[in-house]
Amino acid sequence: MFLEKFIKRDFISFYKDKKYFLLIQTLKNKKIISEERKEFEEKKELEKFIKEKITQNPQTYTSTILFTLNQGVIESCNKKEYLKKDIDYENVKIVCIDNKYSFYASVYDIIRLQEEYRFEIDFIYSVFAVIDYLAKERKNIIYVLVFKSYIILLTYENFIPKYSDIKEIEEKDEIDEIEEIDDLDLIDDSLDSSIENIEDIDEIEEIENIEEKLNNLTTGIEVEILNFIKTSLKEYYKNYSNEFIEKIIILDTAGIDVAITNLIEDEILIPAEYQNPDILQIINRLSIESI
């Protein structure tokens, strides 16, 4: 349409990962003319902000991703394949990609997500769809998308997503954390005593690195990620494929330690790569391409 060249469109992408993350991009003639990032602690604040934007510009499209456990990837668009995998075909919404594979999610989860917010959500994506959009390498590879509350795993075999899994990261109790801190103090004490005996500064730095690694291994979510990859790999080899995984790509949004690649390589013996994608921007891009 002729008018479309002159119309400003706002694309808002948001998701909840402990707090609410939002990106608003304003497009004119398919070019981004401005963008703004926001973080909200409360849902009310997010709703107020988005509602205001919708009132200001009726051409505002909101998009989000679905984090629920009742979603996944099937290596076909066929109903039979769904039934084979014991998925209730009638109660899932399916998005078929290139007539080769499909993403599905529970209809009830989608409805629940829409009802959760007091504004209309225009696009709802499976969290696996975001990985699929990002995935450039698609041969025997695992993508692990890390949020603060979720770990999403998607495995490709010969360009088709084969296996998917979601893990919700459990919040640790404060008491556990304190105990861990106490443990760490003990380690610190032992380290300190050993430091006293060592005069060489380089050795001190090395010990400090070891201390950091120890901290990560015991407290961070990196271990949780590692364990999740391990269990997923076991399941993958057991029920999905005989082909070996050649690479693991960590897509981090939570700010985990880059050293996780070393940890994975050491523990699982598969080459790993760390990437830091902008999920909000990808969600918006998916929506922009759909209009």
């Binding site: 009726p58 499209y61 679905l66 990609i97 989608i110 998916l286 929506s287 209009i291």
Partner: protein, 174 residues
Amino acid sequence: MRVYSFKIPKKKPIFKEDTKLWLIFIAISLLLYISFSLFLTFKAYILKKETKELNKKAYELKLKTMQLNEEKEFIYIQKSVFENIMIKNDLTKQQIKNLLDLIPDPITLEKFYIDKNKLTIYGITPTKDVYNLLMLPPLESIFEKTVTTFYKLPNGWYRFKSQNYIQSEENETY
């Protein structure tokens, strides 16, 4: 183009509700403005045409007025001529009446001619004295010059011819 979304968005309006209202108002006012300007153009065209026609009519009326003025002047002239004639006629009538009143009983008037400044009377008188006593004095009192010639008739009476001038003949030649 791959569509990943579980949901397809509804068609969204391009303009806000109040913008829509504004646009409608602007459209209506534009429409009114255009129709009014069209009406004015049409009216101006009609007025121009009427002006042209009225100018033409005014020119024609001017011509007619000129013609009527000419006619009026002609009528005035005619009227003055008529009035002159009437006055002259009245005068002549009066003169004839006066003349006839002048004629005494013993004298018989045969004929008379009235010119512009000359009166010629032909008649029969029993004697010259009768004429000179009864007829001549009034004539002389009216006219400047009076010339009378007598012809004796067989019965002893006189036929006379009296020529009376208001102005002398010399003056008349001028």
